[in-house]
């Protein structure tokens, strides 16, 4: 992985023009809002992800969707990352000082190649791919995001799991100083997620190190996060410091927090409702250019598709499994 110094890149080079203009608009709006009466819920004039290093040698992928990606603004200001707070704007507000380098990942459990590895050494042997994926949150909203990363299957192979390894378990950094949201007991820390070995070696999941061709912003899970496009967003764990090859199914964070609402599988499924809301439809996130009432009325929900539309690649993983029970 080659990382260019950020100094010689103009913002107009690293994002599409639309996004660049969006950011300008955002700055103007923020400046205006500063003088208004009610400032409590106005965004601060921090430009999320400004001047991030561009990733080199990224190749396109056949798994990418041709749907229009969400703006850089949407992707970097509307996040669920409770390590930095529970509101959508908390992660980018509270993660700006987070320093994601140096970073190492501890690999443990039933594998030949265990130990602690520098992130660069994990990434180096692989080619970075851009994967434009739909992301469906369990809260019934969705986005389209151009991630940059490495197929999880290649990384799993690199650690040579033993046949006794049935699950791959991931853990997020647990550091209350660097991740202020962890001072609150909103979830049990560290955040834990997992996949079956068959899911982890499917070609779709990636370990992402970037988005929009740039190094991953802190609020999106820098420097290393999982992306599992056919499962609800909470499966795609951020800020990974540990990968464990396990014989047993892990108890994941959301399962521990509300076992009747969030399960281990968490496959996107329009037919199985969340106990408190329907999963049949979703709102595609998007602050339309210009705003106004018209854009609000055009924001109608769209139907949710089984496995988030990735059924051709993953449905066979669940043959014979009752998806209503194993939600």
């Amino acid at each position: 992985m080659l990382i260019k110094k950020p100094a010689d890149i103009r913002p107009s080079e690293i994002t599409t023009k639309d996004n660049y203009l969006n950011r300008r608009k955002f700055m103007q709006a923020a400046a205006l809002a500063g003088g208004s009466l009610v400032t409590a819920d106005v965004l601060p004039a921090v430009i999320p992800g400004e001047r991030r290093a561009k990733l080199e040698g990224v190749i396109a992928s056949e798994y990418s969707t041709d749907e229009k990606p969400n703006s850089f603004m949407d992707v970097t200001t509307y996040n669920n990352y409770y390590e930095f707070g529970v509101r959508k704007e908390d992660p980018y507000r509270n993660s700006q000082d987070f320093e994601p380098t140096p970073w190492s990942v501890e690999v443990t459990g039933n594998a030949e190649n265990t130990g602690t590895f520098a992130l660069e050494d994990i990434v180096k042997p692989h080619t970075l791919e851009e994967r434009i994926y739909r992301l469906r949150c369990v809260e019934a909203w969705s986005m389209v995001i151009p991630w940059v990363g490495i197929p999880l299957a290649s990384i799993v192979k690199q650690f040579k799991p033993l046949s006794s390894a049935k699950y791959v378990v991931f853990e997020t950094l647990h550091d209350t100083e660097r991740m202020p949201g962890q001072k609150s007991r909103s979830l049990r820390w560290p955040y834990v997620e997992g996949l079956t070995i068959a899911e982890a070696t499917n070609p779709l999941p990636i370990l992402a190190v970037g988005v929009y061709g740039e190094v991953l912003p802190n609020q999106n899970g820098a420097p290393l996060r999982l992306i599992v496009p056919w499962k609800y967003g909470f499966k795609s764990i951020k800020g990974i410091v540990k990968i464990h090859f396990s014989e047993r199914q892990p108890r994941t964070s959301w399962e521990l927090a509300a076992p009747h609402e969030y399960g281990f599988y968490a496959n996107v499924n329009p037919e199985v409702s969340h106990p408190r809301w329907s999963q049949a439809r979703e709102r595609r996130i998007g602050s339309e250019e210009g705003g106004g009432l018209k854009s609000l009325f055009s924001a109608a929900k769209q139907p949710t598709v089984m496995f988030n539309g990735y059924g051709d690649h993953v449905a066979h993983l669940y043959d014979g499994l009752n998806l209503r029970k194993n939600f």
Partner: protein, 206 residues
């Protein structure tokens, strides 16, 4: 100008305009003048209107205890307006859900009201506030006589359902609904205590 006229022609219009600030702010954000609605505009509007509805409900319920403690009887003159603003913001919250969130998709709306308990109780609170709003005029008050006060005591039920609705809707972190719940609990306990101390008075509202 005497006090009554001063309240009617100066202070009521002033309070009215102040109460409209959240609505103007929302409109300004819709058009990108005072800020913006962020990545999820519908959710942003729905949440802020819902929050203002709860805030105005609590302010309305706080008027009488505050009047009794302070002796500022003129406060009672603002109670109906504040209550109607609570209804106005709850109505905006409801309309945002109905028109923007659900897009008038009838089967989903009916399913939500029938099958999702937090929406059921939110809807119940809305219906209560609607009936209080339409009977809030002086004429209605006269016509309903004694029954009017009985009907309008339902504001407590609406407030409890409203806070419960918020509490139930939150995914995990209940710190915000807990603030409303504590404020409401203090106001309700004060009323119970007041009735206990003054058994001859029917209600502290009058």
């Amino acid at each position: 100008m005497d006090n009554l006229r001063q309240i009617r022609f100066i202070w009521k219009p002033v309070v009215f305009l102040v109460c409209l600030i959240p609505a103007f702010h929302a409109a300004g954000d819709v058009y990108g003048i005072t800020g913006d609605l962020g990545a999820n505009p519908v959710e942003n509007l729905q949440d802020r209107f819902g929050n203002w509805g709860l805030r105005f409900l609590i302010i309305t319920l706080a008027i009488s205890p505050f009047r009794l403690r302070s002796g500022w009887n003129w406060l009672a003159r603002f109670r109906r307006m504040l209550g109607l603003f609570a209804f106005f913001y709850v109505l905006m919250h409801f309309l945002t859900w109905l028109l923007l969130d659900q897009g008038l998709y009838l089967s989903a709306i009916i399913e939500d009201i029938a099958k999702r308990p937090f929406i059921t109780i939110g809807f119940a609170a809305f219906v209560i506030l609607l009936s209080l709003a339409v009977t809030s005029t002086a004429g209605m008050r006269r016509r309903l006589g004694r029954r009017w006060q009985k009907l309008h005591n339902w504001i407590y039920v609406a407030a409890i359902l409203g806070v419960w609705h918020y509490w139930w809707q939150v995914k995990l972190d209940v710190s915000d609904p807990a603030i409303y719940a504590s404020a409401l609990a203090v106001l309700l306990l004060y009323r119970i205590w007041y009735r206990y101390k003054n058994p001859r008075k029917k209600s502290l509202a009058k």
